[in-house]
Amino acid sequence: MALKLTSKVKVKNPLGLHTRPAAAIVKMLQPLKSSVSFTYKNETINARSIMSILMLAARKNSQIVITTEGEDAEAAMRVMVRAFEEQFGEK
C-alpha cells in the first residue's frame, strides 16, 4: 500500500545543505524504496540525486518540505527528519 507523507524541516547545519550533508542524505536513502523529494522555495527536486540537492543551495534555517511516497514512506520520513535534526552528523 503506497503512502504519501509530507513533513516540514529546517536546515540546522551552519553551512547549509552543502556537499557532505547532500552525500549523507543520498547514502541514507539508498536502502529505502520510496520516492523522496524536497521542496524549497517553490522548487521540487528528487532527494536521491546529489546534484539536485546541491542545486537548491539551501542555507541555515531554510525551510524544506520533505515528501515521501511508497511502501516504506514512514521509515523514509523518519530517517530524513532525524537526519535533519542531527545536522547530518556535523558539529
Binding site: V26, I45, N46, S49, M51, S52, L54
Partner: protein, 312 residues
C-alpha cells in the same frame, strides 16, 4: 518572483530604457505577463481597466493628457496609477511633469524608452511571456548528440551519468547532469541546467567532476531543445521490449508530445552506442526517412506481389 528591477537589468539595454522617476519602486513585482496602453482609461472610462499591468504611454496618451486642465490631468493619472502598477514606460517623448510627480510620489518606476509604443508593446509582451512561460524541473541528464537534444532518464544508479560521460568522451555535449530545467518556448521544450551545477557531473566511485575542465569547452552547452527522451531500465525478462520500432511512443512534457524510448540495460550492452543510434535514427526520421516504416511498406508490397503471382 519577477521584479521590475529584473526586467530593467536583463532587458533595459535592448529596450533602451532610461529610469526617470520612482527608483524606490524597482522592487515592485511584475505579477502578470501583460503590458497595456492606457488609452480609454485616461478619459475616465475605468469600467474595464485591469490593474497590475505594465503601462506604456505613447504619443496619443501624452498628447491627450497634455490638453487636459491640470486638476483633471492629475485625477485621471491618479486613477490608473495604483499600488499594483508594476511600472510605466513612456516612449521617446518629453515626460509630462504630472506623470513623473505621481510616479515619484507613489514609488512607481517610470522609464523612458527609445522606441515607439507599438514596438514596445510587442517586444515587452514577448519578453514577459517568455519569462512567465511554464517550466518544470526533471530528473535526468540532458545531452546533445548530432544536433539532437536527448534527455536520459532512469532510476538512480541505472547508469545515466555514466552513459552521458561515455557520450561526452565520444565528442557529444553535456547540458546538465541529473537535474534539468525545462521551459516551454513557442511550442518547443528548451532544457538547461542550473548555473550552480553547470558542467558538473556526479559519478559513483569517482565523485563530482567538471567535464568542461576535463574535456574542453566544446563538450558543454548552456541549453538545448529537448527532442527525445530515453529511459534506461534494468533489463526485465517479463517486459516485452520494442523489437520493430513501428509504434512510436510519446511522453507529455508541459503539454508537448515528445518521442520516448525505453532502453533496457544489461551488462555487455553498449548503452552509449545504442543512445547514439536512437539519436541518429531520430535525425533520419526528421529528414523523412523512417527505416522501419519503409521496410514494412516494402514487405507488404512483396507479399502483395506474391499473391498476385499465385492467382495467375
Amino acid at each position: 518572483m519577477y521584479l521590475v528591477q529584473h526586467l530593467y537589468e536583463q532587458h533595459g539595454k535592448v529596450l533602451g530604457l532610461e529610469l526617470v522617476a520612482g527608483r524606490k519602486g524597482l522592487c515592485r513585482r511584475i505579477q502578470k505577463p501583460e503590458v497595456h496602453r492606457p488609452g480609454l482609461s485616461l478619459t475616465g472610462f475605468l469600467k474595464n481597466f485591469v490593474n497590475a499591468r505594465l503601462l506604456v504611454f505613447g504619443r496619443n496618451e501624452i498628447d491627450y493628457i497634455r490638453q487636459l486642465d491640470e486638476k483633471t490631468r492629475f485625477q485621471r493619472l491618479q486613477s490608473i496609477l495604483t499600488h499594483s502598477t508594476p511600472a510605466v514606460i513612456v516612449t521617446n517623448l518629453r515626460v509630462p511633469k504630472a506623470l513623473s510627480m505621481i510616479c515619484e510620489q507613489k514609488g512607481i518606476p517610470l522609464f523612458r524608452a527609445k522606441a515607439t509604443a507599438t514596438s514596445l508593446l510587442s517586444r515587452i509582451a514577448f519578453l514577459l511571456i517568455e519569462e512567465f512561460s511554464l517550466s518544470v524541473t526533471l530528473h535526468g541528464t540532458l545531452v546533445e548528440l548530432f544536433g539532437v537534444g536527448v534527455l536520459i532518464q532512469g532510476e538512480s544508479s541505472v547508469g545515466k551519468s555514466e552513459a552521458a560521460l561515455g557520450l561526452i568522451e565520444r565528442g557529444h555535449r553535456l547540458i546538465s547532469d541529473d537535474v534539468v530545467r525545462v521551459k516551454k518556448k513557442e511550442g518547443c521544450l528548451i532544457g538547461s541546467g542550473p548555473e550552480l551545477t553547470r558542467h558538473l557531473m556526479e559519478i559513483r566511485g569517482i565523485g563530482i567532476i567538471n567535464v568542461a575542465h576535463l574535456y574542453g569547452a566544446v563538450c558543454v552547452r548552456t541549453d538545448k531543445q529537448l527532442d527525445i527522451v530515453i529511459k534506461l531500465e534494468e533489463w526485465d525478462d517479463q517486459h516485452f521490449y520494442d523489437r520493430v520500432g513501428l509504434d512510436e511512443k510519446f511522453i507529455d512534457i508541459l503539454g508537448v508530445s515528445t518521442p520516448y524510448h525505453i532502453l533496457p540495460v544489461k551488462p555487455g550492452r553498449d548503452i552509449v552506442l545504442l543512445v547514439e543510434t536512437i539519436a541518429l535514427n531520430h535525425r533520419l526520421k526528421d529528414m523523412g526517412y523512417n527505416s522501419a516504416k519503409e521496410f514494412n511498406t516494402k514487405l507488404l508490397e512483396t507479399i502483395a506481389q506474391k499473391r498476385r503471382k499465385k492467382k495467375i
